[in-house]
Amino acid sequence: MPERTTHAEAEGTQPSASVAWPIELDAVTVRYPNGVVALRDVSLSIAAGEMVSVVGLSGSGKSTMIRTINGLVPATTGTVTVGPHVVSKLRGRALRELRGNVGMIFQGFNLADRASVYQNVLVGRFAHTPTWKSMLGMASSGDREIVLRALDSVGMLEKVWGRAGALSGGQKQRIAIARALSQQPEVMLADEPVASLDPPTAHSVMSDLARVNTERGLTVLVNLHLMDLARQYTTRMIGLRAGEVVYDGPASTATDADFEAIYGRPIQSRDRLGK
């Protein structure tokens, strides 16, 4: 079992995000250049501060959906609204500013393994730092402070000068959460954050995400393919199948039949993580 250090006292001193943002998808369709339609006419409304899971098998369009929210994947038609911004209208600097307000973590952690933990978390300050300052390696003392606090809040402060590649999977995902938190975001996106982790580590990373929602009040959207994690950690569940919303309702009371409808097949043992 990997260490599970929480620094509750440090948590209190962390500057909390201003206000969480709502997310609205209106008739969003994504067609990739190779002709594959990943998302079909999806309309959703997520209130500020909600903890939402997006459940579906691989290929159901959940990775695509989460990426339309920060514009990593542009919507082919329809509009995505995040807080005060219409994502599809943003270009260049305005798009980077929106992304600065939306934290994201990934299945594969997406850390630069040979760079230090500090450098990896500093990535979260990009949208708040002029390029020339990054070029000269001049992080402001405020940025430094934010990076160290973010690391402290996930219990990884003592690894700050180590190489990111030397860490275990669970530790890497916590560094990635610290990177997203150092953005001081209004929205947190997580794309299959625990799919590469063993069950105990997966549970601790999921509860880190749940704390981001309850303690900082962020809107959290997390992609999952495991039904028990969705039921346990999120309040609302959106089911995707072949790019269409097939379920939208409370997560804890979703029945096995609901999951079978989302998966499009009977439930198997690999649909649950277990303890």
């Binding site: 920060n70 992304r99 390029t131």
Partner: protein
């Protein structure tokens, strides 16, 4: 495969087909000439050594300065020549094309032309080394960035970073071991190449080589060759040691 190679070799060496002429008989015909030279090479004349210190120092300085300047230029160029660190196809292809041109020209050609342009001395030698080093370092480093995992780029973009920020803060430390290793390799190559450049007037120990060869002092030449060998080996040992510490 081997048969094809043999056939190709045979075909290209038949003069009747316009192939290159390889006259093996000439080795036997000129044997006595060769034997005399080999004899002199086998008895090195160490008295030349004091005259080599100055040009040898010059050669090493050229190699060092050339490596430092080329490294300063090759680091940003490598990032611009690789796909993950420069998604803009137009500028990436422009950088790659220019470097292909730079690499296509042999070092001695650069040295000869530069000696004519800027005069005899170490300056044309250093410029030659810089051009040569940039060609190989940028190619090897950018290819290694291309083939390495670059998923951290997506995180940098998702955080709202510009490509320059992502490159400086993550891509540079990520590819630094490869860069440093190739830069050390270019230093090794530079010592070898700069020993030769003097022959066309680009400074260093090569000038002395050209001089003693002109006087048929093959025994002195042999002493200089052994000295270069020792210097190259020392540089290799040092750079191997440094490279191990990079891992």
């Amino acid at each position: 495969m081997i048969a094809a190679l043999a056939a190709f070799t045979a075909l290209t060496t038949i003069p009747a087909l316009g192939g290159v002429e390889i006259d093996l008989e000439s080795i036997a015909r000129n044997w006595s000439n060769g034997a005399q030279r080999v004899g002199m090479l086998l008895t090195p004349d160490w008295s030349i050594l004091p005259r080599t210190w100055e040009p040898m120092y010059q050669t090493l300085s050229m190699a060092m300065v050339g490596t430092v300047i080329s490294a300063a230029l090759a680091i940003p160029l490598s990032l611009w020549a690789a796909r993950p660190t420069n998604p803009n196809g137009l500028t990436r292809r422009a950088v790659r094309f220019s470097l292909n041109v730079v690499r296509a020209i042999p070092d001695l050609v650069y040295a000869t032309i530069l000696v004519a342009m800027v005069g005899v001395g170490t300056l044309p030698g250093v410029i030659t080394l810089v051009l040569f080093d940039i060609g190989i370092v940028v190619k090897l480093v950018s290819e290694s960035i291309d083939s390495a995992d670059s998923s951290y780029m997506e995180a940098g973009r998702a955080a709202g970073g510009t490509q320059t920020q992502i490159n400086k803060v993550t891509a540079l430390p990520q590819s630094w071991p490869v860069m440093a290793s190739q830069i050390l390799y270019s230093l090794e190559l530079n010592v070898r190449i700069s020993a030769i450049l003097g022959i066309v007037g680009a400074g260093g120990i090569g000038r002395l080589i050209d001089e003693v060869r002109g006087f048929y002092r093959y025994d002195a030449l042999s002493a200089i060759i052994i000295e270069i060998l020792v210097v190259v080996l020392i540089i290799e040992v040092i750079s191997n040691g440094l490279r191990k510490r990079l891992r």
